[in-house]
């Protein structure tokens, strides 16, 4: 269960980017997550909810953008989405692949709100 430690890293990164004013709260955090990033989205969402309580991220929505595992085939030259458990070119079945995407885990952006009455 490394989702807890990943959720903590996400929160740390977001806090570093928050404006310093009082009363700023985060509405949503957009995250890209590769199919082969080794993260279970449900547990990540659960951990994120749990550790953001009492922080400016409390109640924020974790918006996960899933990135498929995609590879360039060194045999037929095509780029296709790959089923992680098959690991073969979807066009010709070759296993000689160069991975193009699917391992990413990146905080894209956040939506913040200045709370009523503070400013």
């Amino acid at each position: 269960m490394h989702e807890l430690s990943i959720a903590q890293s996400i929160v740390d990164i977001v806090l570093q980017h928050l404006p310093r004013e009082e009363g700023v709260s985060v509405r949503s955090v957009r995250l890209t997550l590769g199919a082969m990033a080794g993260v279970v989205p449900d547990s990540l969402e659960f951990c994120f909810g749990a550790i953001t309580e009492g922080t400016p991220l409390q109640g924020a929505l974790l918006e996960i953008e899933h990135v498929p595992l995609r590879a360039h085939c060194n045999d037929c030259g095509g780029d296709t989405d790959i089923e992680p458990t098959l690991f073969a070119c979807a066009a010709c079945g070759s296993r000689s692949l160069t991975i193009l995407s699917g391992r990413e885990m990146q905080v894209r952006d956040i939506e913040v709100e200045e709370n009523e009455g503070v400013r």
Binding site: M1, I6, V14, R27, G38, E104, V107, E113
Partner: protein, 219 residues
């Protein structure tokens, strides 16, 4: 409501520390491997056999990752090599900062090979670069032959597969050919060794491979 662009890798802090570890190890000419597997596949047994076989041939140091106990470090202590224990206190994987601290307790100029035993887990450690030269994944015959398909990220990110407990092949439902084929399907460039830590079969071939990759000058 406003949008703030961030565009940062979630694990960038770990990746940066791993880069520092890798640079430090390379500066000292140390070949470092990160040994991963499910719990009980035989990582510590493989270390013991490897240390036995390399005694007098290579200056080895060990970093032992464990969730709770130092039992594995005690097993390694017998072999008279520098060993540092990291207890992750429930954490399911080692992170680069823990290895960074452990490296501070090792006499690096006198070491040629560093073996890191990761926490028993085939999911989480694949995300965390420690600064090793390569990952070595241990799969034992008692786990069946479909492990690579269930944990493709780990097999894809490893450079070596050790198929351990081959002495048990007559008793378990595992085809070594299928295991091999499944692993090579995920990662055609895997170097594969078959071992038994009980009988010692396959250990010399594995150790010769290690010796060939290690600057042997520091014994």
């Amino acid at each position: 409501m406003s949008v703030i662009t961030i565009e940062r890798k979630v694990l960038e802090k770990n990746d940066e520390l791993a880069r520092q570890n890798r640079a430090l190890l390379e500066r000292h000419g140390i070949f470092a491997i990160n040994v991963v597997s499910s719990p009980g596949a035989g990582k510590t047994s493989l270390l013991e056999r490897t240390l036995e076989h390399l005694a007098g041939k290579l200056a080895v140091a060990v970093i032992e990752g464990d969730v709770q106990t130092d039992f594995d470090a005690q097993r390694i202590a017998k072999y008279n090599v520098p060993a540092v224990q990291i207890v992750t206190a429930g954490g399911c994987h080692l992170e680069a900062n823990l290895v960074h601290d452990a490296l501070g307790n090792i006499d690096l100029p006198h070491i040629s090979l560093l073996i890191i035993e990761n926490v028993g887990n085939l999911v989480c450690p694949s995300n965390y670069d420690l600064g090793e030269a390569m990952k070595v994944v241990v799969a034992s015959t008692t786990e069946g032959d479909d492990k690579p398909l269930k944990y493709p990220a780990m097999f894809r990110n490893s450079s070596v597969l050790i198929i351990n407990k081959i002495d048990l092949l007559p008793y378990v439902n595992c085809s070594i050919e299928t295991l091999r084929a499944n692993a090579l399907r995920i990662n055609p460039s895997l170097a594969v060794f078959e071992t038994s830590c009980t009988t010692g079969a396959g250990i010399p071939a594995w150790c010769d491979w290690l010796l060939a990759r290690t600057a042997a000058g520091k014994i």
